[in-house]
């Protein structure tokens, strides 16, 4: 493997150059010497940018579904109102709890001075953070399991995917959110795999990236729940 990959791209942002002089200031500017500004070679992960790009795309997808839901409810009188399964509120609590455990995990992973004022070692930090990471993943899986149980609850009442547009949207939204959350679990699993004795800043970056996604999934779910509760 190692021999087939290039080095992971490093962030090399050049601060916006004012000496740029791109003809905007006329010829006298062009005559000036332009040194290339020194780029701050931040050792940051491109994933830290990429994750926000992904968040934007996922938001767009769900926005498109929600607008479809609103339009669809308005156009025809076949919209069945039903009580959301109780289960969902428990699931919500579980998911919120998982965000808390993830934050604790991140906190533990911080290299911080201990009693004696010495920096704690990376492996100690990783060891402290490890259980919280596992807890987060477990809670995430419980959430998905809970969602499946909520489905069975609805199905037992005779509400299936095609019973009514309201139930159709319910299943589609919860299923798509669940899939995305499973993606988040996979992401955390990847972080776990990267947790190695010597915690270096890169791993911390990966954890940060995964937690942006995780909290986003969490917030998205609360938003969906509000919509579903109000509309179905």
């Amino acid at each position: 493997m190692a021999s087939t990959t290039k080095v992971p791209p490093q962030r090399q942002i050049a601060p916006d150059l004012t000496s740029d002089g791109q003809r905007m200031g006329g010829s006298e500017l062009r005559g000036r010497s332009r040194s290339a500004a020194v780029g701050v070679a931040q050792n940051a992960l491109p994933a830290e940018t990429g994750i926000w790009v992904a968040v934007a795309a996922i938001s767009m997808s769900f926005a498109s579904l929600i607008s479809a839901l609103i339009v669809r409810q308005g156009v025809a009188p076949d919209w069945l109102h039903f009580q959301l399964p109780r289960m969902l509120y428990l699931n919500t609590a579980i998911l919120l709890a998982s965000s808390v455990t993830l934050e604790i995990c991140r906190h533990e992973f911080d290299l911080r001075p201990d009693f004696n004022g010495e920096e704690s070692r990376g492996d100690e930090a990783a060891a402290r953070a490890f259980p919280w990471l596992c807890a987060t993943m477990a809670l995430g899986l419980f959430f998905v399991l809970g969602q499946v149980m909520a489905w069975r609850d609805l199905a037992a009442k005779g509400l299936f995917l095609s019973s009514s547009p309201s139930s159709s949207f319910f299943y589609v939204l919860t299923a798509l959110h669940g899939l995305h959350l499973l993606g988040g679990v996979a992401g955390l699993a990847y972080v776990l795999y990267r947790f190695r004795p010597n915690a270096d800043p890169q791993q911390r970056g990966v954890l940060g990236v995964a937690s942006v996604y995780w909290h986003f999934m969490d917030g998205l779910w609360v938003f969906l729940l509000v919509i579903l509760a109000a509309r179905t």
Partner: protein, 589 residues
């Protein structure tokens, strides 16, 4: 990989064939793969257009082998009206998704964007590889529809519901074929989302020292803005495709209205909204047409100055225009729905931004023309296609002004006038952009020059040919000739048949002219003259490295950028130019 070490380049390129050419992580290979896919798709799309044109000119014509491909669609080798629509759907889907999205955006963008910003590769090479292979799967799924059930769907590239949402009962191809179509497009969305993610992150994070946003070449700006549009557009289309698939396979009623009776069959759907599909589709669809053309804007803005040997009039204005077009493209989708039965007041609301969007487009055209003005142009094939781009874009844009007004569009909608409009403004302009880019960057990509004489023949035959094909369509449309008809047997249409024959013959001519291009491409690939590192005396970073560039693009060098991308004609007497990487000062003129 071993433990964190300083970033050094002791990892060589992959050695195995599979890693090197098939599942490659190298953005340059992926770019070429996309280009190859686009070539296959454009060939298929071109052949389909020929078949359609044969049928439109000569209704009774038997087309050898067509009956073999589809015994039901072309009994006795003569295509049925339904099969005509199937071919049309496939032609449009292939062209718009697999040619006009992949070639200018995914292919050239992949190959050149990282080099032009001075990066070694995309931000996420693995996602990049997935992006291509996912797109490839989408392509295979789409093509499969030729060989299953009764052929490809016939609902057009817009797949309006309920025709597209009720299943096989709606007609041949509306069973499995239409499902494959929806699945294919959904997969395609995922592929392009991964691609856009890479483009955006790479542009933001991996620029080399001194490469400020303002110093990025305009082609990079084009791909960057396109990727932002694509990210949101494909993210919106993907769930729409999911809903469509569910309507077709799971009995939901998102788009299929209640009480439908299709082919004497009462359908079980309840109250879905066909208009909802149109809104979702066009919310993607209009931005999509800009996904097809914006890379072209960027390519032209980079190629023209290189051959005009002067700066573009205002590169900041070009950037501003591209960004505002990208922004506005999300506010105009309703102009495709003026006659859909939506509220006439909203038609006005959509008409206004549509007319506004012509302002940045016009500014950009004027900037290009202003750049040409007084230039000592080097008329290479690439330059010719750039100028041709401006021509067809103007021609197509002008008809847009008419269509943008609901009162006029009520008559013109779904006529050949629209066909003429979008072929000029999107299809031809984007194709000319692809050609300009190919003649320009081929030496960089393959280390060999393309044949200029053949290139010029290719340009002139194509340029004249396409005007013969598409210009008369305006008159057809004005005469009331509706589009998506397989035959013109009505009294008022019959007199137009000679014109259709002229168009068909011109179309064969244009298609044949493309053989020159294909020949040139393959011949030059192996036997073309060796290219120097910078054959066009251009300034951007890709010309600072070898042709073709090494595995890590710059052979381990970390480039530093000192100038904007268009320091041409710095000394207007000698046509001197200054590379972006050249540290020297520029003489004050």
């Amino acid at each position: 990989m071993s433990s964190p070490e300083p970033a050094v380049h002791h990892h060589g390129p992959p050695q195995s064939f599979i890693r090197k050419y098939i599942f490659s992580l190298d953005h340059k290979v992926i770019g070429k793969q996309y280009y190859g896919l686009a070539l296959i798709a454009v060939l298929a799309g071109l052949i389909l257009s020929w078949l359609m044109r044969i049928h439109l000119g000569w209704q009774a014509a038997a087309i050898p082998l067509l009956g073999k491909l589809s015994p039901t669609g072309a009994p006795g080798n003569v295509m049925t009206p339904d099969y005509y629509l199937s071919l049309m759907t496939m032609h449009a889907t292939l062209m718009i998704f697999f040619v006009l999205t992949t070639a200018p955006f995914a292919a050239f963008g992949n190959y050149l964007l990282p080099i032009q910003v001075g990066a070694e590769d995309m931000a996420f090479p693995r996602f990049n590889m997935m992006s291509f292979w996912v797109t490839f799967v989408a392509f295979v799924v789409l093509i499969l529809s030729f060989f299953v059930g009764d052929g490809p769907p016939l609902a057009g590239w817009t797949s309006y519901a309920p025709l597209s949402s009720v299943g096989g009962v709606a007609g041949p191809g509306q069973g499995t074929g239409q499902t494959l179509w929806a699945v294919s497009i959904a997969i395609f969305c995922i592929g392009q989302l991964l691609g856009s993610l890479n483009f955006i992150t790479t542009t933001l994070d991996l620029r080399t020292k001194g490469m400020s946003l303002a110093r990025m070449p305009l082609s990079t700006w084009g791909w960057f803005v396109t990727s932002v549009i694509a990210l949101l557009a494909f993210a919106a289309l993907l769930p729409a495709c999911v809903l469509l698939i569910l309507d077709r396979t799971a009995g939901t009623s998102f788009f299929s209205s209640a009480g439908l009776v299709v082919n004497d069959q009462v359908l079980p759907h309840s109250g879905g909204s066909p208009l909802l599909w149109q809104h979702l589709f066009w919310f993607f669809g209009h931005p999509e047409v800009y996904i097809a053309i914006l890379p072209g804007f960027g390519i032209i803005s980079t190629v023209l100055p290189a051959f005009a040997r002067k700066r573009i009039l205002s590169s900041r204005a070009v950037i501003g225009c591209m960004v505002s077009i990208g922004f506005l493209s999300y506010m105009v989708w309703g102009h495709h729905m003026f006659v859909s039965g939506m509220n006439p007041f909203s038609a006005v609301l959509f008409s206004l931004p549509t007319l506004i969007i012509t302002i940045p487009a016009t500014i950009m055209v004027l900037l290009w023309l202003g750049t040409l003005y007084g230039a000592r142009m080097r008329y290479t094939a690439s330059a010719l296609f750039s100028v041709g781009f401006i021509s067809v874009f103007i021609t197509g844009g002008l008809s847009g002004f008419f269509l943008a007004q609901p009162s006029l569009d009520t008559y013109l909608h779904a006529t050949y006038f629209v066909v003429a409009h979008f072929h000029f403004v999107m299809a031809l302009a984007a194709m000319f952009g692809i050609f300009a880019g190919t003649y320009f960057w081929f030496p960089k990509m393959f280390g060999r020059m393309m044949n200029e004489t053949l290139g010029k023949w290719h340009f002139w035959l194509t340029f004249i040919g396409v005007y013969c094909v598409f210009m008369p369509m305006h008159y057809l449309g004005l005469a009331g000739n509706v589009r998506r008809y397989a035959a013109f047997t009505d009294n008022y249409l019959a007199p137009l048949i000679p014109l259709h024959r002229f168009i068909s013959i011109s179309a064969f001519f244009v298609g044949a002219a493309q053989l020159i291009f294909f020949f040139n491409l393959f011949w030059s690939r192996f036997w073309g003259a060796k290219a120097t590192d910078n054959p066009w005396e251009a300034t951007t970073l890709e010309w600072s490295t070898t042709s073709p560039p090494p595995f890590d693009n710059f052979g381990g060098r970390h480039l530093v950028v000192y100038h904007g991308p268009e320091e041409y004609g710095v000394d207007s007497d000698t046509l001197e130019y200054v590379m972006q990487t050249a540290p020297e000062q520029i003489k004050t003129t």
